[in-house]
């Protein structure tokens, strides 16, 4: 985004309003009041119940129906999970390759390709959402909001020249993407407004009274706070990483995993009374299902994980392995022998 584009976004966003220019009209969608939000939710619930009574399928029922009609299956769900994992892994890789420009850009291409595939798959899964109870209710709710918050020349608009769905579509286009929030949060003109907000006692947003923050406003604040937290982190990454969304996501994932590992280790240390178990070279922790298994596996450092992988590969290859046949044990015995030899030679002097 260029500076003047960002300026327009920020000043529009600070008013809380959405300005829609269609044909020769200039419509303004203002934020809904709390009362209007309550009413819209009541409309949602009523529309949902009515749709349900008319035997329209819910979101989960639609998914079952899609599975019955072979429009969706468990493999597709697995594919979504796999793509999410792949993107996560690639983001860690791009962070690790932060000093290698060529590799970094190559990984970025894979990330974009993965995101595209994921979006296609998610779109495929949610293609019938608008026909579900939830979809119908959500449309009713949004129609109510737009109808009651769209003004032309300070008067509620009657949707004669421009239809309600058309205004709704324009309004939806005003919702920024995550990439845009992040860029706005870390760049001027917002960055300085955010920094000085407490010092000069200025208000960030000029919303009409009795209204909540808009979706765009909330996200901008969340990302601004997030960037503040990153700067305060003990492991704060460089500006190159902060300014690159993919690399910063990789940093988030690494930090998150680090915290999970520390938490799991602390839980283990607190939960196990026996020092013999705590100090054992192999610790077997009882796992309840696959999530718990991931948590336990995550307690291993890179060295431990590598040893585990090496051992499992050998066990699978040979079928039966004695402890001393593991490569890490061989290395340990060799190190022990070397140390004993050193001690012997030094002792002889």
């Amino acid at each position: 985004m260029k500076h003047h584009e960002r300026e327009l976004f920020i000043y529009t966003l600070r008013t809380g309003k959405v300005f829609i220019q269609c044909e020769d009209l200039e419509l303004v969608v203002i934020p809904a009041t709390f009362e209007q939000n309550i009413r819209s939710l009541q409309i949602y619930n009523k529309a949902y119940e009515q749709a349900y009574a008319e035997e329209i399928m819910t979101e989960s029922e639609t998914l079952l129906w899609m599975k019955e009609k072979d429009l969706w299956n468990d493999e597709d769900d697995e594919k979504i999970k796999g793509l999410e994992k792949d993107i996560e892994r690639l983001k860690v890789e791009i962070y690790n390759a932060r000093n290698n420009d060529n590799l970094k850009e190559r990984i970025r291409l894979y990330i974009r390709a993965g995101e595209k595939q994921l979006q296609e798959k998610v779109d495929e899964k949610t293609q019938y959402f608008s026909n579900t109870c939830e979809g119908i209710a959500a449309t009713e709710k949004t129609f109510y909001i737009i109808k009651n918050t769209t003004y032309l020349n300070r008067e509620l608009y009657n949707f004669e020249k421009i239809s309600l769905p058309q205004v709704l579509s324009e309004w939806q286009n005003s919702i920024l993407s995550e990439k845009q929030y992040r860029e706005l949060a870390r760049t001027e003109p917002w960055k300085s407004i955010w920094t000085i907000k407490n010092k000069v006692n200025t208000s960030l947003f000029e919303n009409p009274s009795n209204t909540d923050l808009t979706y765009n406003q909330k996200n901008l604040v969340i990302w601004s706070q997030m960037y503040d937290n990153i700067q305060e982190s003990l492991d704060c990454p460089t500006n190159d990483v902060i300014n690159d969304d993919d690399m910063l996501d990789g940093w988030f994932i690494i930090q998150g995993k680090k915290r999970d590992k520390e938490r799991a280790e602390k839980e283990f240390e607190d939960g196990v009374k026996s020092d013999k178990i705590k100090n054992a070279s192999e610790v077997f922790v009882m796992a309840n299902g696959s999530k718990d298994k991931d948590r336990i596996d995550g307690m291993n450092n890179v060295h431990g994980q590598t040893i585990k992988n090496q051992r499992m590969a050998l066990i699978k290859r040979k079928g039966s392995v004695e402890q001393h046949q593991f490569m890490d044990e061989k290395l340990r015995v060799q190190t022990q022998a070397t140390q004993m030899y050193k001690d012997h030679v030094k002792g002889g002097r």
Binding site: I277, S281, V283, G289, S290, D297
Partner: protein, 374 residues
């Protein structure tokens, strides 16, 4: 804390008697296990010779395998009993002679509960009991920690203990339609599930007289040594916070010419059994140390002594009991707490005895040995 320890997610541990074919009837899966630690050490001895600085031979000794298992007390057989499934007497001597095979199953991570044979099993055979520890805390679950030692450990892809037949015996119940595990504590109904402070059956426990004396100030000789620590209204007399019982067999290898493995790993008798009881202090410990012995013991078999021999018995609702016999001696008393921060003052009484610890678990002990309840 070891820096280079490796964590494995394990989902089942099984025990079977040694020197017998492992069958689905003699292989028992342990329940309520929390964690297991395994340490393997390879012992080296180096030989040198005159005439060269290089090593003459690196002689590998016996590998030491030590496995420690921690379990909550939940009505299922204790690890101590599973590891001595064919003991002929319930006391330490009888149990200490036993050897067991242990299998740790690492199952498929996509399953909620174990079913079928373990894809990978860590198999340890000829394991001797090495140490035991039981804790009954005021805050938390009652736990058992058992250490076994041996010299043999294998990693297998064809399970020897956690076979599909053993898993199919229903020892680990599962809802096959959903794949969800249905296992729950055996002592769930009427006896408190996992045993906690409220499951210590004080009406059947025997608390040392010296602890009762610290609360009532009565003469030790006038306090009866019989089961029951409850007042008439059911409130315990002694306000006990924590009890821990532990013992270490201190095994020594007995070797013989003609083979590398030990002929036997003998327990180092006499085996000391210690019991620590922490009590909220209401009026001091009342333990006196008099040069010529406490006068109240005159004309008794404890004449000239400051501490009498005392009985200790802990009984839980799940049917397990821990009988330390009648020859426990107070070895130390520690008074602590009661600091400026408002903490409670507590007294820890440490008792010790030798070769006497009968751990019973009526009805579920694989060896079918029910010890006396004092």
């Amino acid at each position: 804390m070891a820096n280079n320890r490796i964590f494995y997610a394990c989902q089942a541990v099984a025990f079977a008697p040694c020197f017998k074919a492992h069958t689905s009837s003699n292989t028992k899966i342990a329940h309520g296990l929390q964690s297991v630690g395994v340490t393997t050490n390879f012992n080296l001895e180096q030989a040198f010779e005159l005439g060269q600085i290089q090593i003459y031979e690196n002689i590998e000794g016996l590998p030491d395998v030590e496995v420690t298992l921690e379990k909550v007390l939940d009505g299922y057989p204790l690890v101590y009993h599973l590891a001595s499934p064919e003991a002929t007497s319930p006391n330490l001597v009888g149990r200490s002679k036993e050897r067991a095979c242990v299998g740790l199953g690492i199952f498929d991570d996509s399953k909620d509960a174990v079913s079928g044979a373990a894809p990978v099993e860590v198999y340890m055979s000829g394991m001797y009991l090495s140490s035991l520890s039981y804790t009954f805390p005021v805050d938390g679950n009652c736990t058992e920690s058992v250490t076994l030692v041996g010299n043999h450990k294998e990693w297998l892809t064809t399970a020897r203990l956690l076979t599909s037949q053993v898993v199919a015996t229903g020892q680990m119940p599962i809802d096959f339609s959903t794949g969800r595990g249905l296992d729950e504590p055996a002592s769930l109904y009427g006896s408190g599930g996992i045993q906690r402070r409220e499951n210590i059956d004080m009406s059947k426990c025997i608390i040392p007289r010296s602890i009762i004396r610290s609360l009532t100030g009565e003469s030790v000789t006038s306090i009866s040594e019989s089961a029951g620590n409850n007042n008439a209204n059911g409130v315990p007399k002694a306000h006990i916070q924590n009890v821990s019982i532990s013992t270490d067999f201190g095994r020594e290898d007995i070797l013989e010419l003609g083979r590398k493995v030990p002929y036997y790993r003998a327990p180092n008798f006499p085996i000391e059994v210690t019991c620590e009881i922490e009590v909220i202090s209401v009026s001091g410990d009342f333990v006196e140390a008099i040069e010529s012995g406490r006068p109240e013991f005159n004309n008794t078999r404890n004449e000239g002594n400051n501490t009498p021999e005392e009985a200790i018995l802990i009984v839980l609702d799940d049917g397990s009991s821990f009988n330390l016999g009648t020859k426990n001696r107070l070895s130390s008393v520690t008074y602590g707490g009661g600091d400026a921060g408002g903490g409670n003052a507590s007294t820890t009484f440490s008792y010790s005895t030798f070769n006497d610890l009968i751990v019973s678990h009526s009805g579920v002990d694989p060896a079918n040995l029910n010890g006396e309840l004092g």
